[in-house]
Amino acid sequence: MGVFAIHILNALLYSSVLFLIAGGLSLIYGVMRILNLAHGNLYALGAFVTAWAIGLALNAGVPAGALFLLLPAGAIAAAATGALIERTLLRPFYRRPEEYQLLMTFGLLMILEDVIRFIWGPTPLTATSVYASLGSLEIGDARYPTYNVAIIGVGVLAAIFLWAFIYRTRFGVLLRATSQDKRMASALGVNVNRVYIQAFTLGCFMAGLGGAIVVPSQSAVLGMGVDALVLAFIVVVIGGLGSLEGALAGALVVGVVREVGITFFPEVELAVLYFIAAVVLLVRPAGLFGRA
């Protein structure tokens, strides 16, 4: 019983992080019609900044409890970077064919990868003290790290906040209007440029948050961004590019399949995920929740 519960918790843990990454990717695509290939690097940036900040605080003798306050640092750094990127490098491209936008974000991927290497070097950064400070829970006859449960909690909270934000606030209305018909929204007086930069920043914030909360339980390593991006692709393809509900559903599917895969068929785990994505695309081209 305990083992089963742990499998479920693992699947949820994985889904939560994936939702944060893929949700941001999907939000950006839904509003701006840009597939951000550098999105994974913003996730990595969130992880590195948080691990670095926690490391600094530890050296300064900050008690473990207060370290939790540093977790959002990575998310804020990713959001700031995103805002800068949108303003300087993406804005000139909205009228150009989408191939150029894709290539631009590919160039950014290469740049950000090395910027991270340049700042923090090739060795992994860890922030395990935060992870260890929470201890573990007993579930039946098994033990499970409390921190991982906290990650699931953050994932759920993020989903609820995002839903409320998009469906219950004025900003959400503007966002949805722009996403449905940019020209009409613009004609009705919506400042589309401002919505774009807000959406991009929010998407990057989510990716950074994903990295920030994951880093105490794993560690920040080079290349984590590209790996995460590819998984986020599977999530948005399954769920539907541009749909947040889809990102949530896709993240759950991928989380469960991955947990089952690691247990029963570790060799083809990734291949099975891609296979599911391909099947979904063939049966429902726009994904489970996508608009055609």
């Binding site: 490098l89 991927l109 990868e113 090395d114 340049f118 692709f233 393809v237 590019l241 291949a271």
Partner: protein
């Protein structure tokens, strides 16, 4: 005749370049000759890729599957069939790639634009993850050995370097020229014109009776096979078929080369591939942060020179011609 004109233009480019390439191994050192060989190989890959991007209007982010697939096909032929002949390598990998690209194409050509890109990327990542995980078959991250083959029955003597920089160089040059000619014929054939019609206006092309999906599929297969030829030539030169050429960022490099040269012209991908090879070789030698350098080049390129090197040359020539008239 437009096609005669463009043939003339191609020849004015090609003849001096071929002469230069033909004498190069006797003039430049071994390192340069090797870099040029890599450049020609990538040029073949980029030419194949550009049949989709430049002529059909489909941006594939999964061409690493065909390049890497062919490289692994060569390594498997060495490992399981004990083959050592380059001609058999090429034949085998062309067959393997025709099958692979047909399989991928059947799925991918149902979509266009961004979905086509994601789908090609996802499928190529399937191959990569298989190569990565089935390490007892594929060697995992270490890859598989691909020793120097025999060329038309001649094998490398004691001086492997001399063999690679001369015999292998001319072999690659020969294949490269053949590919250029065949690709030129393809894009100027009625089939090639149909592809361009599909690229420019899908609805109209369908209206005049072009079977869009079938044409796209054929273009996809041709493109995959050409890129595969490059992969088959690359593996023995590199000595190793490794997952680096299967992973999706390598597909990004193929896109990079093509855009660098200019995907709206026939020679663009060739120029871009050779320029990229030099750029990357020197960037890697110059700094650990070569990715940063290449990324910056790509970003600046798209910002100021979206038509690539060939586009800039055309503009320059047009400006000079205009000044000459007035």
């Amino acid at each position: 005749m437009a096609s005669n004109q463009s043939l003339k233009r191609l020849l004015t480019w090609l003849v001096p370049v071929v002469v230069l390439l033909a004498v190069a191994p006797f003039v430049v050192d071994e390192f340069q000759a090797l870099t040029l060989t890599y450049g020609m190989i990538f040029a073949i890959a980029a030419l194949g890729f550009n049949l989709l991007l430049g002529y059909t209007g489909l941006l594939s982010f999964g061409h690493s599957a065909f390049f890497g697939g062919a490289a692994y096909a060569v390594a498997f032929m060495v490992k399981y069939l004990k083959i050592a002949s380059m001609e058999l390598f090429l034949t085998g990998s062309i067959l393997a790639n025709a099958f692979l690209s047909l399989l991928f194409g059947l799925v991918c050509v149902r979509y266009t634009r961004i979905f086509f890109g994601i789908l090609t990327l996802a499928l190529s990542q399937v191959l990569w993850s298989l190569a990565f995980k089935f390490f007892w078959v594929t060697g995992g991250t270490d890859g598989l050995r691909a020793p120097t083959p025999t060329l038309l029955g001649f094998s490398a003597g004691d001086d492997k370097m001399a063999f690679l920089t001369h015999q292998y160089y001319y072999y690659v040059l020969g294949v490269f020229l053949l590919v250029v000619v065949v690709m030129w014929v393809i894009v100027h054939s009625p089939f090639g014109k149909a592809l361009q019609a599909i690229r420019d206006n899908e609805t109209r092309a369908e209206f005049i009776g072009i079977r869009i999906r079938r044409y796209r599929l054929i273009a996809f297969v041709i493109s995959g096979v050409f890129t595969g030829v490059a992969g088959a030539l690359w593996a023995p030169l590199n000595g190793l078929a490794s997952p680096d050429v299967l992973v999706w960022t390598f597909s990004g490099e193929i896109v990079f080369m093509t855009v660098l040269g200019g995907f709206r012209t026939f020679v663009g991908p060739i120029v871009g591939a050779i320029a990229f090879t030099y750029l990357k070789t020197y960037a890697v030698g110059f700094t650990t942060y070569w990715q940063f350098l290449l990324g910056t080049v790509l970003v600046v390129l798209i910002l100021v020179l979206p038509t690539g090197i060939m586009g800039a040359v055309e503009q320059l020539r047009a400006r000079v011609a205009k000044r000459a008239v007035t």
